[in-house]
């Protein structure tokens, strides 16, 4: 079903008016990039992320899909692909919400209060529950590494997730016991 384009136009305009850097992908008003800064009272403060927003056909009756282009360490964001758990947005979505709401209210809230009951990044969720300080630290590290302003301003081909395979998997402890010789 085709939703009235007036609504989409208005939403986009409002978003641009609220001082967000918006970059259209194509002229169809379906997808675009937005620059997002981490909320100030959270460990994500100082980080800058490039966020890809996709408006479905049934917008505004269905929620938009949000994805982080550069990496973020968060229980509800998949580290590799950057997509935000859709259910979390969908649960609270209403047709009266608009894009400004998403960036002003919803995303900051998500970053400030992750939802560990439905994690896309199980490790992050577990760390958060177990050791909050370590979690905060980790988040900051990721921000340092991956959420610098240059990262967010880069071209959309940033999705080099193939090379970013965590070396952790290869860090097998084969130091083992001295003396364990393989026959």
């Amino acid at each position: 079903m085709s939703s009235p384009s007036k609504r989409r136009e208005m939403d986009l305009m409002k978003l641009m008016m609220s001082d967000y850097k918006v970059e259209m992908i194509n002229d169809g008003m379906q997808e675009f990039y937005v620059e997002f800064h981490g909320p100030t009272e959270s460990p994500y403060h100082g980080g800058v992320w490039r966020i890809r927003v996709e408006l479905p056909d049934a917008y505004p009756y269905k929620s938009p899909s949000i994805g982080f282009i550069n990496k973020i360490y968060h229980p509800n964001v998949d580290e590799m692909s950057g997509s935000v758990c859709l259910d979390v947005i969908n649960q609270t979505w209403s047709p009266m919400f608009d894009l400004v709401n998403v960036f002003e209210v919803f995303l900051p809230q998500l970053l400030l209060y992750p939802n560990p009951s439905d994690p896309l990044n199980g490790e992050a969720a577990a760390l958060m529950m177990r050791d909050r300080a370590a979690y905060d630290q980790r988040v900051k590290e990721y921000c340092e590494k991956y959420a610098k302003p240059e990262d967010a301003g880069a071209a959309p081909e940033e999705k080099s997730s193939d090379e970013e395979l965590s070396e952790d998997e290869y860090a097998s402890s084969d130091e083992a016991m001295v003396g364990e010789a393989d026959p």
């Binding site: 079903m1 009235p4 007036k6 009266m96 577990a126 010789a181």
Partner: protein, 641 residues
């Protein structure tokens, strides 16, 4: 005119019923005097049009029969009326000039035009003298014609009933709508105690306030006598639904005052204006309207009609009037839908019980999307802070019958799912309630079953173990008695059971989060990666340190592990290692693996304990054949040091 007037307690719109209306004289017998006066004047009157037809008809009558009064009047003033028929004829003519109730600011204008009309028509009284004079010759001509017509039409003899009906149709009410500030407070003192005779009133009273935007109008009904405006003011009644009689009486007195300030001039416009703009402040209700007083005995002012009964009747009626007007206003205006930002007329909007409104298109799409997706739990008021329910009747209109049915079944299913103690009968699939010991009875087929294993109720016996259940279900799969849906469900259950079985073959469950963990290496002290819970792999108990393994129950290392490890241990290796460690000074590294080896006795031939290579202690080279390497030409095989 000795009739007493009944108080009208209800229905402000039509405040007087035909039967008990009487002429309300402004003063004692003004009319009679007026009549005489008038008749005297008549001959000399300067108003040709009216004077014309009185004498010509030979009918003497005194009033503008604008209204219902006439019939009664006749009887009351018997001698003055001669003919019944002609009056009715008159009335019907006059009737035409009544354009009925007029509202608000327009009231005044219409009134004038009414008057104008009357003047043109067959008028029975002279009023608004100046108007008449305007008519001039044309007016005279018209009147004469009309008179003639009227004469000809006079054969109709109306019954009392018909006259009554006609009269009612000729009511001349002016509805005056007061303009209020946007949120005008109305208060009423309410008593907690219902006994009106109790002495201690104050302690029980409390003030209830609500806000309105519209109040039902003040209805001013006038009857213009023949001697208006020259001598007498119109006789009038004021009816207000929300004022007490005493207050209305005050208003009436004010109207009298206004007349007295300008006797001889038309007063209706002033009256209406005053009522419209100053009546509330005159009564002291500038900022707030105070309802009541309710237990004060009403003064019998025959001009005041109050619709006020008691707080529990007045307050709801005022509120509902207010809402109606607001709704009307809304319908007439153009509004923007906050979902699609398009502008539509008020009629294209749907208003929910929570007072939020959205355009019909948006609501339809919204409902469709959710019913299609099955997310009926989210189908509530779109307003983010509200979330109020949407009435099913409205949904039916929006969705259409088919989709509405789907909505209903989805809602039912979701509600039942949300209830923890609802289970479905294994035989007929109807929803049943289970009680504490997992027992449920189907109300349709009366099957009594255990909700855990969904088998026949087994008091005292445990449910089937998973293995048994698996076997049982697998057997059942092949049965032809199973319906498709049930078969699929049981197949799912089988797969589930098999998976769990597979998982549990090699794994144990964390005692706190139940996740399955399998141990690949190391000791029996396990750490669950979800939340860091320590547990013993042997017995699956939650532990906190190594104490558990000292108690003598579980071993830290399983026996097989120890045996395996020991097998792997090579005695020679061990010794070689130790020696290399102890006599490091004399040790020489192996060319193959660089590990230090100490020579055994004098022998310079080293068999490396680490990589099992052979090498010469002296030259530290690998040795393939000792016979070749050692000898008179090569290294000495035995030497000290």
């Amino acid at each position: 005119m000795g009739r007493s007037r009944n108080k009208k307690q209800n229905n402000s719109q039509r405040y007087r019923e035909k039967d008990d209306c009487t002429v309300i004289p402004v003063s004692e017998n003004p009319r009679k005097q007026a009549d005489h006066h008038h008749q005297d004047d008549f001959e000399q009157s300067q108003t040709p049009s009216t004077s014309n037809y009185r004498p010509s008809n030979g009918i003497k009558f005194n009033w503008v029969s604008k209204n219902r009064v006439s019939g009664v009047q006749k009887s009351g003033l018997g001698p003055e009326f001669e003919v019944g028929g002609s009056d009715s004829g008159q009335k019907s003519e006059v009737g035409g000039s009544n354009s009925g109730a007029v509202e608000g600011g327009q009231g005044v204008d219409e009134r004038e035009s009414e008057v104008g009309e009357r003047n043109c028509g067959v008028e029975e009284e002279s009023n608004e003298g100046c108007e008449l004079s305007k008519e001039g010759k044309d007016g005279v001509e018209d009147v004469r014609r009309l008179e003639e017509l009227q004469f000809e039409a006079q054969e109709v003899e109306l019954s009392e009933e018909q006259m009554r009906i006609n009269d009612q149709a000729q009511e001349d009410e002016i509805h005056i709508h007061i303009e209020l500030p946007s949120e005008y407070p109305v208060s009423a003192k309410l008593k907690a105690d219902t006994h009106t005779n109790s002495k201690s009133h104050d302690s029980d009273e409390f003030l209830y306030t609500f806000k309105v935007q519209y109040l039902s109008p003040i209805v001013l009904t006038c009857l213009l006598p023949v001697s208006y405006p020259s001598h007498c003011p119109p006789s009038f009644t004021i009816s207000v639904q929300w004022l007490h009689e005493s207050k209305i009486s005050n208003l009436c007195s004010m109207l009298d005052l206004l007349w007295n300030e300008q006797v001889g001039q038309e007063i209706l416009y002033q009256w209406v204006e005053w009522l419209h703009s100053s009546s509330l402040s005159y009564l002291g209700f500038d900022g707030e309207l105070m309802l009541g007083p309710y237990d004060v005995k009403s003064i019998s002012d025959r001009r005041a009609f109050s619709g006020s009964v008691s707080p529990d009747i007045d307050i709801p009626s005022m509120r509902s009037y207010n809402e109606e007007r607001q709704h009307e206003n809304f319908l007439n205006g153009c509004h923007e839908c906050c979902i699609c930002f398009s502008e539509y007329a008020g009629t294209e909007f749907l208003r929910l019980p929570c007072h939020h409104f959205f355009c019909v298109k948006c609501m339809t799409t919204y409902a469709d999307v959710h019913v299609k997706e099955g997310t009926v739990n989210k189908l509530h008021c779109p307003n983010t802070k509200c979330g109020g329910m949407i009435p099913p009747g409205l949904l039916k209109r929006l969705l259409g019958d088919e989709e509405f049915e789907r909505w209903e079944s989805l809602m039912l299913q979701k509600s039942l799912d949300a209830m923890p103690d609802v289970t479905y009968c294994p035989r007929c699939e109807t929803a049943c309630l289970e009680d504490d010991d997992q027992h449920a009875q189907c109300s349709k087929c009366f099957f009594s079953f255990c909700s855990l294993c969904r088998e026949r109720r087994h008091v005292g016996i445990a449910c089937m173990t998973p293995e048994m259940k698996l076997k049982f279900l697998e057997d059942r799969q092949n049965s032809s008695l199973l319906k498709d849906a049930q078969r699929r469900k049981e197949l799912d259950m089988i797969n589930e059971l098999r998976s769990v079985k597979e998982i549990l073959r090699d794994a144990k469950q964390c005692p706190s989060c139940k996740i399955a963990i399998s141990r690949t290496d190391g000791c029996n002290k396990m750490v669950c990666s979800q939340y860091g819970q320590y547990f013993c792999y042997c017995c699956s108990q939650a532990i906190s340190g190594y104490e558990h393994f000292r108690e003598g129950g579980c071993q830290l290392f399983p026996q097989e592990a120890i045996v395996q490890w020991e097998e792997q241990i090579n005695a020679r290796q061990l010794i070689g290692q130790i020696q290399a460690h102890l006599f490091a000074a004399n040790a020489r590294p192996c060319p193959g693996c660089k590990q230090l080896n100490v020579k055994v006795g004098n022998n310079n031939h080293i068999f490396c304990w680490a990589c099992q290579n052979h090498y010469c202690y002296l030259c530290r080279k690998m040795v393939r054949r000792s016979s070749e390497h050692y000898g008179p030409k090569g290294c000495k095989q035995h030497s000290e040091g």
